[in-house]
């Protein structure tokens, strides 16, 4: 019997094409759209909305992916798209128990929470440890950088409060990683950024970029010509890491080095299938059970060409219904065309796989487009930095220097 992630025929511009579906890797559940903070670069349009997901919807989401045969051996439930901790510990205790009862023993379910951290207390610490939650904290750097964007609803900085919570996590021996949103300011001071992050009790650091996306129409990073600055930032950060904190894994640098070290010319067009542009590798579910796939940022977004990106409701729309719906097919076909455009135009395609649909839409106004400012920094700059690092350390002269 075929699995759901095998090939499926999907109509596209009047002619059938084959697309790969799943397997599911991320089930993104929006426990609530509400956020207790008001960060100035936030892309979420509904962060004043205090609704919360009924646990029956969370259960339905898990039943849906199992019935649709989208799951292979494991998947991760990501509680996101609002501040997850505003729902309280009891909510997640119940949610995790209910999900656990639905999933067959041979399938592993991980739970991940991305939080701004300011609501963490000892009870949360106990929960994170006992439930083995993968916890990511949003920390942008030292106070003057973090507080420039990450503010309370009355406009105050959040760094001091977050720092106390980070101390509590360390005291309670709760493992966490950090996602830092880089801005035009932070990439120009790699020493200060390294000094700060190397002082945290973490072994994994991720750099996101201040993006032009959904409710955030501008970026201090992307509107400037920051390409060389960002490459320099990554290379300097790498040097400092090598010297002072070799145990600190940096997603953007080590991920790119990993891709380069393992790249195979003969397999280049079969290997890289990013979650964001492969149908149903990610299932995004909002508080009411409406769902989408591809980039999570698309759920809740709207566009004149597509309307919204909701593909149905879990209570009434099956995977089969969705795949045969012209609304889904148009979105999927345009995203596939965008990937194909990247494949034909971009020298970095083998290491990227075709970019992010939500960024293409926000920046270019089209899903079937190619390069974005986001991918120039988030992909190309990282690859360029990794190539520079490897060539330098392996004694390879750059082109034109030999």
């Amino acid at each position: 019997m075929s699995k759901a992630w095998n090939l499926v025929d999907a109509a596209s511009h009047g002619s059938p094409r084959r697309q790969q579906i799943g397997p599911l890797e991320l089930l993104v559940l929006q426990g609530t759209p509400f956020c207790n903070l008001d960060c100035s670069y936030c892309y979420l349009p509904d962060r004043d909305d205090r609704r919360k997901m009924d646990l029956a919807v969370a259960e339905k989401a898990v039943e849906w992916v199992l019935e649709a045969n989208l799951v292979e051996h494991e998947f991760t439930v990501v509680w996101h798209a609002g501040e997850p901790l505003v729902l309280g510990v009891d909510y997640y205790e119940q949610a995790i128990e209910r999900i656990r009862h639905l999933v067959p023993a041979e399938i592993e379910v991980n739970h991940s929470i991305q939080s701004n951290g300011v609501l963490i207390n000892e009870r949360w610490c106990d929960f994170f440890k006992r439930r083995n939650i993968r916890l990511g904290l949003s920390v942008d750097g030292p106070a003057e950088i973090h507080d420039a964007f990450r503010k309370t609803r009355d406009g105050k900085g959040t760094h001091a409060k977050l720092s106390r919570k980070i101390e509590l996590l360390s005291e309670q021996q709760v493992a966490f990683h950090v996602i830092a949103v880089l801005t035009g300011q932070s990439i120009r001071d790699p020493e200060r950024m390294f000094e700060y992050f190397s002082g945290l009790d973490i072994d994994y650091l991720c750099f996101n970029l201040e993006e032009i996306e959904a409710a955030n129409p501008e970026s201090t990073l992307l509107k400037q010509d920051c390409y060389r600055d960002y490459v320099d930032f990554l290379e300097r950060f790498f040097e400092l890491r090598q010297q002072y904190r070799p145990g600190l894994q940096i997603r953007e640098i080590d991920g790119a080095i990993n891709s380069i070290a393992n790249w195979r010319a003969t397999a280049q067009h079969e290997s890289v299938r990013p979650q964001e542009n492969t149908p149903f590798k990610i299932l995004n579910v909002d508080v009411e059970g409406n769902f989408s796939t591809f980039s999570p940022e698309l759920l809740g977004d709207e566009h004149p060409r597509y309307g919204d990106f909701r593909l149905g409701n879990l209570s009434s729309t099956s995977l089969e219904d969705c795949l045969s719906d012209p609304h889904y097919q148009r979105i999927a076909a345009d995203i596939a065309d965008g990937v194909n455009r990247c494949r034909g135009e971009c020298d970095y395609f083998d290491l990227c796989g075709g970019g992010s649909p939500s960024n293409k839409l926000a920046e270019n106004g089209r899903l079937d487009s190619g390069e974005t400012a986001f991918c120039r920094l988030q992909r190309k700059a990282c690859v360029d930095a990794a190539l520079d690092i490897l060539e330098k350390n392996l004694g390879i002269c750059a082109e034109g220097q030999r």
């Binding site: 890797e25 991760t76 067959p104 079969e270 390879i396």
Partner: protein
């Protein structure tokens, strides 16, 4: 017992292994400048006869996976986490 969603099956045409997302992809030049640089790096690593150790020399092997070294034939199985959304 895990349920199989029989009605979906009508849509699924094959148990063939994963392929590219579309049928007739355009292809960037396989010998573009980025790929050339990668090949030079890999040749240098291979010249050392021991790629993991070569990367040890620059102290990054802790974070570089070599699941199939020295057999790269199973490259397709390698999980490219770098490209995944927020890498949860």
């Amino acid at each position: 017992m895990r349920k199989f969603f029989l009605t979906v099956i009508a849509f699924f045409c094959s148990t063939a292994p994963a392929q590219a997302a579309t049928d007739t992809p355009a292809q960037a030049s396989a010998d573009n400048e980025i790929n050339k640089r990668i090949v030079r790096i890999q040749q240098r690593l291979q010249a050392k006869q021991d790629k993991p150790r070569a990367l040890d020399d620059i102290r990054i092997s802790q974070w570089v996976n070599f699941p199939n070294w020295p057999n790269w034939d199973n490259w397709n199985n390698w999980n490219n986490n770098w490209n995944n959304w927020y890498n949860y």
